[in-house]
C-alpha cells in the first residue's frame, strides 16, 4: 500500500481530471436514459395545443388542465388498484412469513424441493393459461371481480416473497433463536417475538416489491376485468382516444399512474436489488 504516499503531483491532477470526466460521463448517460420520463413529465404540463407541434416546444406556459381532465373518472380505477395491491400484498405477507420460517429457521425435510417448487411457478407463463383462466373466472362468477385480481396477484408475488423473506430469516443470529427456545418459547412466540422484530425492515422491502408488481400489472387485468375491477393500467389505456389530439392528456395520465410506484422505488432503492434478485443479493 505504498502507492498512495508515492503518488506524484501531476498524477494526482490527472486523476482529478479523470474523476471529473467520469462524473460528466455518468451524468450525461443518466440524463439521456431518464429523458423519456422527463419528457413525459414535461408534456403532461403542456396544453394539448403545445404538445403536438413541430419542432417540439420546450418553453411554454405550464398548465394543470390536462391533469384535471385526466383525473375525472379516475376514481374507480384508482380504488380498484389500491384494493388489489394492498390486499394482495397483505395476503402475501401472511402466507409467506410462516412458509419462509418452515423453509429456513425450522426447515421441513424437503425444504429445497419446496423452495424450487415456488420458484418454478414463476417460470410457468401465465399467458398460456389465459383462455382457461377466463372460463374458470366466468364459471366461478369471479370475472370482473376485484377478488379475482387479488387472488391472482397474491399467487404471482408469493414465490418471490417467500424467497426474499427466507433470505432475511437466515440472517437472524442463531444465538437469539436458541435463547428463545431455552426460555421455552413456542413457534408462534419465536416468530412473533424474536424473528419478526429483526426482519421487519426486510418485510417492508418485500411488501414494496409486491406493491410494485401488483400496481403495474396489466395482462390479467386487461383479460379478466371490464369495469367493476379495472385497475390503473386500464385507466391509462382508456385515456387514449380513437382520434384527436391526446399526447398531453396521455402524458398526464401516465404520470399520475406511474408516480406512486416511482416514489416507492426511489425510497426503497437500497432494498430493490435484494427483492428483484429474490434475496440472492444482499
Amino acid at each position: 500500500m505504498t502507492t498512495l504516499s508515492s503518488r506524484s503531483r501531476p498524477r494526482r491532477l490527472r486523476s482529478q481530471a479523470g474523476s471529473v470526466g467520469w462524473a460528466v460521463l455518468a451524468w450525461v448517460v443518466a440524463l439521456a436514459f431518464f429523458l423519456p420520463v422527463l419528457w413525459m413529465a414535461i408534456t403532461a404540463f403542456k396544453p394539448e395545443s403545445a404538445a403536438e407541434t413541430w419542432p417540439p416546444q420546450f418553453i411554454f406556459k405550464p398548465t394543470l388542465s390536462e391533469f384535471r381532465l385526466a383525473v375525472t373518472g379516475m376514481a374507480p380505477f384508482l380504488t380498484h388498484s389500491v384494493i388489489a395491491t394492498v390486499v394482495s400484498t397483505i395476503l402475501v405477507l401472511l402466507l409467506a412469513v410462516p412458509a419462509a420460517y418452515a423453509l429456513s429457521v425450522s426447515p421441513v425435510k424437503r425444504w429445497r424441493d419446496g423452495l424450487f417448487f415456488f420458484i418454478s411457478t414463476k417460470m410457468l407463463p401465465i399467458v398460456a393459461a389465459i383462455g382457461p383462466l377466463y372460463v374458470i373466472a366466468l364459471k366461478t362468477h369471479l370475472l370482473d371481480d376485484i377478488w379475482l385480481l387479488i387472488i391472482l396477484y397474491t399467487a404471482m408475488n408469493l414465490p418471490l416473497a417467500i424467497w426474499m423473506i427466507r433470505s432475511f430469516m437466515l440472517e437472524v443470529p442463531s444465538e437469539l433463536l436458541e435463547a428463545a427456545r431455552l426460555d421455552g418459547a413456542g413457534r408462534i412466540r419465536e416468530i412473533g417475538g424474536v424473528i419478526l422484530p429483526i426482519i421487519s425492515p426486510g418485510l417492508v422491502s418485500t411488501a414494496l416489491i409486491c406493491v410494485i408488481f401488483a400496481w403495474n400489472e396489466l395482462f390479467l387485468a386487461l383479460n379478466l376485468t371490464v369495469t367493476n375491477a379495472a385497475t390503473m393500467p386500464m385507466f391509462l389505456i382508456s385515456s387514449v382516444p380513437q382520434e384527436g389530439l391526446y399526447i398531453a392528456h396521455l402524458s398526464a395520465a401516465a404520470l399520475i399512474a406511474s408516480i406512486p410506484v416511482i416514489i416507492i422505488g426511489w425510497i426503497a432503492q437500497r432494498s430493490l436489488v435484494r427483492g428483484l434478485s429474490m434475496g440472492a443479493i444482499k
Partner: protein, 326 residues
Amino acid sequence: MIPSAVHLMREFRVTVLEDLAVPPRAEVRPRGLSRRERWLRRLPLLPALIYVIVVTQIPFLVTLWYSFQSYFWNSPAPARFTGFSNYTTVFTNPAFRGALVRSVVMTATAVIVAMILGVAFALLLDRKFLGRGVVRTLIITPFLVMPAAAALVWAGPMLDPNFGLLNYLLAPFGVHHVAWLSTHALGSVIVVMIWEWTPFMTLIVLAGLQSQPPETLEAAKVDGAGALATFRELTLPHLRPYIELGILLGSIYLVNVFDQVRLMTNGGPGTSTTNLPFYLYQQVNNAFDIGGAAAAGVITVILTIVVATFALRLFARVFQFEEATG
C-alpha cells in the same frame, strides 16, 4: 397419460436440488424427528403451498383439458373432444411458429443488450463522484415506470413521426420524420424492453461490483496490472454469477412481455411484433378459440419447462455461490 406440468417440474427438480448443498440452520437433523414434530414443522408451510398449487396449477390442468377440445367461447355449441386436432393445427400453423421465433429473438436481444448496458452503467456507478446517488436514482427510474405507461409514452410523445422527441433529436443526423412503429416496429419494441430492463441489470451487476474484495483489486494494481486486464481477469469472473442471475431473471420476465406489444404496435404491422403472449391473447380475444389457445399454451409450457430445467440448474448454482460467500 400426458404428465402435467407439475409432474414434469418434479422430474427435474430432484436432479437439480442435489446441487444446492447449503444446509439449513438447524441443530437437529429433520430426519431424526418424531412424526408429530415433522407435521408441526410442515404446518406453517402448508397454507402457502396449497395456495400456490391451487391457484397456479389448476389453470394449467384445465388448459391441458381444453387443449383436446373444440371450444369457441362465442359459439353456443358445447365443448367437445377432438383428440389431437388442436395440436396438429398449432404445429402446422406458421403464425404460431413465427410468434415463437419472435419471442425468442425479442427476449434474447433485449436481455443481452440490457446486460451489456447494465455492466457499463454499473461500472460508471461503481466510482465515487458528485451526485452519484442522483445518477443512480435517474438510471433506475425506467424500471419503475408502469410498463403500460412507458409503452404509451414511447409510442406517442417519444416516437410519433410528426412531433415525437426522438425524430427531433435525430434530425441533425439526417433523420426526418421516421414512423418508427411502422418501419422499425420490432426494433422499437425491443428498444423499449431494453430501456426498462437495463436498470435491473445495472443494480444486480453493481451489487456484484461492490461485493468485490478491494484487496484483490489493490493487489492487482500493485502488480502493475492495467485497468482492462484487471477487469477481464478479476472483475468479470467475479461478476459471472451476478450476470447469470440477471440474465435468468430478466428472461423470466421478458419472455412474457405483453404490455409493450399490445400498446405500441398491437402485434403489427402484420404480425411483425406478435410474440407468443400476444399471439395467445389474440387467439382468445379475437379468434375466441379456447381449445386452440390451450393447445398452443400447453406447447408453450412444455418449451418453458425445457428451458426452465437449465435455468433452475443455474439458479441452484448461483444461490449456492451466494450463500457460501455471503
